[in-house]
């Protein structure tokens, strides 16, 4: 199963629509999408919900073999935590998908990581999904649960001073 998630704050119809189109052309693959409270486009070729309960969402991640998500840090941390490959699609300010184009920066940074595939446009999405599915053995590498100790220690000192 492929799980699509767009974050919890702003809608991201362009990604939902692009994956829905892909799902229509790949009916052999089960695709499930969490489209957010304010998404206007309702998918036709995949199962979808607005916002899954945390437990339900965790169960869906468990069942998934690939995550497709907006290019937020949270997407990357989720994929790392659950050892899944990840396709990232950045939100663009020009389409009012976010307040700035910082997800382009995030995508350029994270695309260097193993198991991360970036589609900058709708046209690049099928290629990125294919590349990810072709390498099921490569997932985003697990991370320690907390920030590196020297950084934590310095923040701690600043809190106490």
């Amino acid at each position: 199963m492929i799980l699509v998630t767009i974050g919890t704050m702003l809608p991201f119809d362009r990604l939902v629509r692009a994956v829905d189109r892909w799902a229509g052309e790949h009916t052999e693959e089960e695709v499930v999408a969490q489209i957010g409270e304010r998404g206007e486009y309702e998918p036709k070729n995949m199962r979808w919900m607005r916002l899954a309960a945390p437990d339900e969402f965790a169960a869906m991640v468990d069942r998934s073999r690939l995550l497709i998500a907006h290019a937020g840090t949270g997407s990357f941390l989720l994929a790392a935590e659950r050892a899944r490959p990840l396709v990232l699609f950045p939100r663009r300010a020009a389409f009012r998908e976010h307040t700035s184009d910082h997800q382009l920066q995030t995508a350029r940074w994270l695309r260097e990581k193993a198991g991360v595939y970036v589609a900058m446009t709708e046209d690049e999405l099928p290629g990125a999904i294919a590349a990810a599915l072709a390498r099921p053995d490569i997932a985003v590498e697990a991370l320690p649960r907390y920030a590196p100790a020297p950084f934590v220690e310095r923040i701690r000192k600043a809190l106490l001073e």
Binding site: G7, T8, M9, L10, P54, G72, T73, G74, L77, R96, T99, S100, H102, Q103, Q105, T106, R108, W109, L143, R145, Y146, A147, P148, P150, F151, V152, E153, R154, I155, R156, A158, L159, L160, E161
Partner: protein
């Protein structure tokens, strides 16, 4: 005991803050974020929900500000720390004015090539003003001390 108010909006901002959790050990910490279901991730601590705001939702500020005033006057923190975004900027400013708290802004790690707009404005209200990318550090600030990843 040191009283800390730890504030972050949703998604990556909250994830960044949670990755700093060991920095709070032995302190009296209350958390503030935008989704009530985040509370379970900081079990055992006081948790408050605030209204999320952005440049798409300027009117939300009128709901956010009274929420923050109530939280800050109730908690009276010695120090407020945040990993963004816009609502947290208001939290730092209010905490400074209302209870003269020390304020720490850590710009979100997602801002790789330039600071967020809130992060740039934070220079006016943050006693400690940090970026998570060495390339964004300048003589006039922000400083780079490390990153959550």
């Amino acid at each position: 005991m040191r009283k800390v108010l730890a504030v972050a909006s949703g998604g990556g901002h909250w994830a960044d803050l949670c990755r700093l959790y060991p920095a709070f050990s032995g302190m009296d910490v209350a958390f503030v974020s935008v989704h009530p279901n985040y509370a379970r991730q900081v079990d055992g601590h006081r948790f408050y929900t605030m209204r999320d705001v952005s440049r798409f939702d300027r009117w939300g500020v009128f709901l956010l500000l009274p929420q923050l005033v109530r939280i800050i006057l109730k908690e009276r923190p010695d120090v407020v720390i945040t990993t963004g975004s816009a609502p947290a900027l208001f939290a730092l400013a209010l905490a400074k004015v209302l209870v003269r708290a020390k304020t720490i802004w850590i710009d979100d790690i997602a801002n790789v090539e330039q600071l967020s707009m809130s992060g740039s404005l934070a220079r006016h209200v943050a006693d400690v003003w940090l970026t998570q990318w060495p390339g964004l550090q300048t003589e006039q600030g922000p400083e780079y001390w490390g990153a959550v990843l």
